[in-house]
Chain length 300, copies 2
């Protein structure tokens, strides 16, 4: 049984740990086969082959255990999503594996149950079970994590037309997500909280009602992006410049270093490209660009 | 020139200092007349007559000053909204006065400018300029404060059908709003912040898309209502009981003690009434009930 899962961008500015958007920039393909030897065997290039250190393997082992499935499985992973760049790579492998296993064994899982198992796979990648990327990896579109325990996800109805440009810097860091999470403050002031809720409410209502100005206003984060700014020093310059070229907005994709730019037909796309190049050159950082669209839904 | 402004409920659960809903339960009527003596004279029953201590007077004085209006004015206030109960009484007088002055002198203010002046009137009542109640007092409907300085308000497009029941306890406290604000923690944990954003995002998207379950889930607050619970010990019991009778949800109206109950035709209205009576009797607190509807818009 083969399933795929696409890249995604968590947070979207003020939605730390709750918002994520799937996009068709990259995808992982995961094949799961019954294997009448015991255990979970993993194959694939450039990934951990110990199932406990592999997000797909860890998710799979939890499902086999919870459902009392005695047979072994073989998981073959074709990574299409580059890892360590804030594109939801680890979560996508887990989500694709969970979807494939659900179909292979006819488990009839709900979407939230699939998110639950996919999320636990994330422990293999970054030490914590966070549901944001895997939510869009299971539901598609833009998802809101209503609750993590128990998992309760809501897919938002989006009425804004936009395209996506991903600026993917060639910056790799060991244990990046773990480090990025360690920079998030454990406490914030009430004023910071209120500012964040103003932005988040604007973003959500703008996305749902198709109000471009509300999304522009809302996609700004004064807590997590600010705390992590040393990880991506080019970000504020890049954001300012693409907005001068009438991009809708920009944000850090997940834990970075990728920047997600939203634009539409009111934007000066060539101006955006020039700005990105100017800024990234000025920081002497190589990057690739990837045009993309929101990944609306999976067929299962 | 006469203008009215209706009662309102700020916060709506997780939207502390950013959300407010106008309702037609009560209204203040404010008449403003030019007066060729100097200064601001205030008349009305049971209100401060010193204009600096009166929300309408303070707002008026700022406007006269900023617009260089040299004539004096007379402000006559008919209070319809009971004060000190979390119903936006102080803000409504200010908002009505601002609207009347805007028309009287043909000032052509934007809605946000009117919110700005109304908000500063609130200093007379509670020592701080907060824009939530006055936003719905100027815009009507459910308003989102995007920014306080400069004032930037967004009126949300609501697609949920509901009715309102206000449970108004006969509990009066000197300087209640100031006290209530002092109970709000100055810092919160990141986990509290995330839980709050989950609720708030659910509430906003539920109101806009007409998703009753999302509103039920979203209208819960783990920060401000929790910190103030000793001010309204009946609240959690009341909320639990009305939800058992299939109310959509309930929250503290502004700084309390009034409880705002949202219900619809799926709710057991008589069951809600019985529950309210049971709970309030068990706490030995007298109360009045007021059925109401959302106050959609003003005609100016």
């Amino acid at each position: 049984m083969i399933a795929i899962s696409y890249s995604s961008s968590a947070n979207l500015g003020p939605g730390y740990d709750i918002l994520s958007m799937g996009h068709d920039a990259f995808y992982d393909e995961v094949e799961v086969l019954e294997d009448h030897s015991n255990g979970i065997r993993i194959s694939g290039d450039g990934i951990p082959l110990d199932y406990k250190k592999n997000t797909a393997g860890l998710s799979a082992s939890m499902i086999l255990n919870d459902y009392g499935i005695k047979t072994g499985i073989k998981i073959n992973i074709k990574k299409g999503i580059p890892a360590g760049l804030g594109l939801g790579s680890s979560g996508a492998s887990a989500a694709a594996a969970v979807r494939a296993i659900n179909k292979l064994f006819n488990l009839g899982m709900s979407h939230d149950e699939m998110v639950h198992y996919s999320m636990h796979g994330e422990i293999a990648a970054c030490g914590s079970a966070h549901p944001d990327n895997v939510s869009s990896g299971i539901y598609g579109g833009i998802t809101l994590v209503q609750s993590k325990n128990p998992v309760k996800i809501k897919k938002l109805k989006i009425n804004l037309n936009f395209s996506i440009l991903l600026v993917i810097p060639e910056l790799f860091m060991e244990n990046k997500t773990m480090y990025a999470r360690s920079l998030v403050p454990s406490k914030i002031t009430m004023d910071e909280h209120i500012e964040s809720t103003q932005r988040l409410s604007s973003l959500i209502s703008g996305l749902i009602t198709g109000d471009r100005d509300l999304v522009s206003y809302g996609m700004n984060d004064n807590i997590v992006e600010r705390a992590r700014i040393k990880m991506f020093p080019y970000y504020y310059d890049l954001k300012r410049r693409v907005i001068e070229n009438n991009a809708i907005s920009a944000c850090i994709s997940g834990a970075g270093p990728t920047v997600l730019i939203l634009y539409d037909d009111k934007s000066d796309y060539n101006g955006i490209l020039r700005s990105v190049d100017d800024v990234m050159r000025s920081y002497n950082i190589k990057y690739i660009l990837k045009k993309s669209r929101i990944m609306e839904a999976y067929n299962d």
